[in-house]
Symmetry: C2
Subunit: 364 residues, 2 copies
């Protein structure tokens, strides 16, 4: 049997640096654990634009479709800010999500004990926090048509369309309920059903799926603005949150920041099962390309490493190794090792991206 | 000369209770300060639905159009959750905003010194915080057409349209720049120009207005997800934030919660100047109708009272009295007077809605 295949798309900014540490860890697994992967690498985002004039070539798209899992670093940077909308680095990522049909974006917001004091929130509000935001990732206002900027009379008008079908809502709802069953059995669904009909349909379909298939899970509903408030007030009230593409973008970023662990948080984007039973999958850190610190060996590789741990769990059915890797990260943090972003106002001596990767391998 | 006119729409839940304290204060101004208003009262939201089968009658709409300012309490409640979308309590409020063309929604997020410890954020992150969120209030996905739920094949599909014209963006941008000039001269504009064309146009128009008319104001741009993060991380980096209707809904609620002063925060919704030079205006607390505590005399009337202070400042050109009223509120808080919502985990003895109103009048 051949090894499972991984496509690595390191992307822009700090993407290549943090991905480098993941490659070391993948190498370690092949040598020490007999868990080898066939790794290919390719370009995405600004890096692909620089080489090919497009943020994702058809050839790369095809490789992503055929890989057992895709690992992505980050895309974007000020260098590309003036590019036309259609070739912006982000379009590469959005094309991957859409064409691989990765409808369920899992974004854990977890507070690492060693970093609880690093949050802007009080310790007791965030310590021990462990929630999972499930964001719909292939529809809504990100992809709805019509869209664009056109002229009406002598005015420009900008248009986007928020559009959700019943089945799009149903499948992401199922994925949230399934996750909740393996966690604390609670789902909170967020929309703006009080002002948007797409939110009314969202609430209806989530309720129907709940009644028909997951009556054992506790379901609540919240308007997204109230959800943003409650995340800031007392995030521990939540277990799994399910929401649409745009609300999920804002709410998961806010939640990630609240944990104080932004440079630490991974994500998994999952689609339907492939012929081999594995879901289509892309794993990436929640943080961006951080162009201000790119190339300086300062970046924190943990979010990218934990994204690989999610790959072990969700693509390769190896929850044990995933947990082991996560525990290695926690041990390194408990030992007081910190990249620059993890140093509070008290300061301290930061270690480099590579040193953090090495420390995690040593802890493994 | 006749007195300026006020239309009071107390609405649902705690609306009538908190508005009662505002009426006492209005009465006090008439008696003690020779600042009398002609006050009318009418119904909105669930209360209007119960009486007339609609959350806002045409007659009430007409009175609102003719008033010098409208004061609104709150709308909504679980009793109305199953109502058809078109007669939900919220539709009454949205009709007022739309037909009065109240495009500029001012939402101060301010941390009251006496309450800084009450925030879920650390004291140094929020103490002294004073930012102003300017939310576009009459367009975007709240009002765009087409909208609704329809069938495609045997699937339901929910649709809303995000739509902004150049002039809609320009006028709210101007209102943000004007405010910034009277504050710390900084505006941060938030959208998702990386994924939405309506955001691309938003950024363009804000930049154009800035260059042509307000080059003296410092302007920056941020993606709304990063904005949500930065609000949670270090809100003091902001002075004025300008954003669209939907992002403004989430971001201002999150910001309000961060201050720890949710029951304290007022808002003003302003339109174009009327014949008498006053802007069309509606003032309302940021908090909702809080049905769980309605009718118990527990609600905090301060947000509603400070909304009246905003009316004094923005509709009646009486910044001095507005400041005096705001200072009276601060004095009462500094004295340790607290409604139930302002008691931290340490507890204490709460005062009632009416006692809080009386204390503020005494401090005046
Ligand atoms: C880079 C950008 C297109 C993306 C998004 O808006 O989805 C990012 O913010 C995210 O959350 O993954
Ligand atoms: C009540 C509701 C319609 C309203 C909104 O979504 O605008 C509220 O959340 C607000 O922020 O004023």
């Amino acid at each position: 049997m051949s090894n499972p295949s991984l496509l690595i798309l390191a992307g822009d900014g700090i993407g290549p640096e943090v991905m480098n540490e993941v490659k070391k860890i993948i190498g370690w697994y092949g040598e020490k654990r007999d868990l080898a992967f066939d790794v290919e690498e390719d370009l995405v985002g600004g890096a692909a634009y620089d080489a090919h004039g497009t943020p994702l070539t058809d050839a790369t798209m095809e490789r992503a479709q055929n890989a057992d899992a895709v690992l992505l670093g980050a895309v974007g940077g000020p260098k590309y800010d003036t590019l036309d909308f259609s070739v912006k680095p982000e379009r590469g990522l959005l094309r991957l999500r859409k064409e691989m049909d990765l409808f369920s974006n899992l974004r854990p917001a977890q507070c690492f004990d060693a970093l609880a004091d690093f949050s802007s929130l009080k310790r007791d509000v965030v310590a021990g926090l462990d929630i999972m935001i499930v964001r719909e990732l292939t529809s809504g206002v990100y992809f709805g048509e019509p869209r664009g900027i056109h002229k009406e009379g002598n005015e420009r008008v900008g248009i986007n369309t928020q559009r959700y079908t019943e089945s799009e809502i149903a499948r992401v709802a199922r994925s949230a309920f399934e996750l909740a069953r393996r966690r604390n059995n609670k789902v909170c669904s967020m929309e703006k059903a009080n002002v948007m009909e797409s939110g009314v349909l969202w609430r209806q379909v989530v309720t129907e799926i709940h009644e028909a298939e997951y009556p054992d899970v506790e379901l609540s509903h919240m308007y997204a603005d109230a959800g943003a408030m409650q995340l800031c007030r007392w995030p521990k009230q939540f277990d799994v949150i399910v929401t649409d593409n745009l609300f999920g973008d804002l709410l998961s970023d806010a939640a990630a920041m609240l944990t104080g662990s932004l440079g630490m948080l991974p994500s998994a984007s999952l689609g339907a099962p492939m012929a081999n039973g594995r879901p289509k999958a892309l794993y990436e850190p929640v943080h961006g390309s951080a162009p201000d610190i790119a190339g300086q060996g300062k970046a924190n590789p943990i979010a990218c490493i934990l994204s690989f741990a999610m790959a072990l769990r969700y693509s390769f059915d190896n929850g044990d190794e995933a947990t082991r890797l996560e525990q290695a990260v926690e041990r390194v943090l408990a030992d007081g090792k910190r990249t620059a972003d993890l140093l509070g106002p008290e300061g301290g001596t930061p270690i480099s991206t590579a040193e953090m990767g090495d420390a995690i391998i040593a802890a493994l």
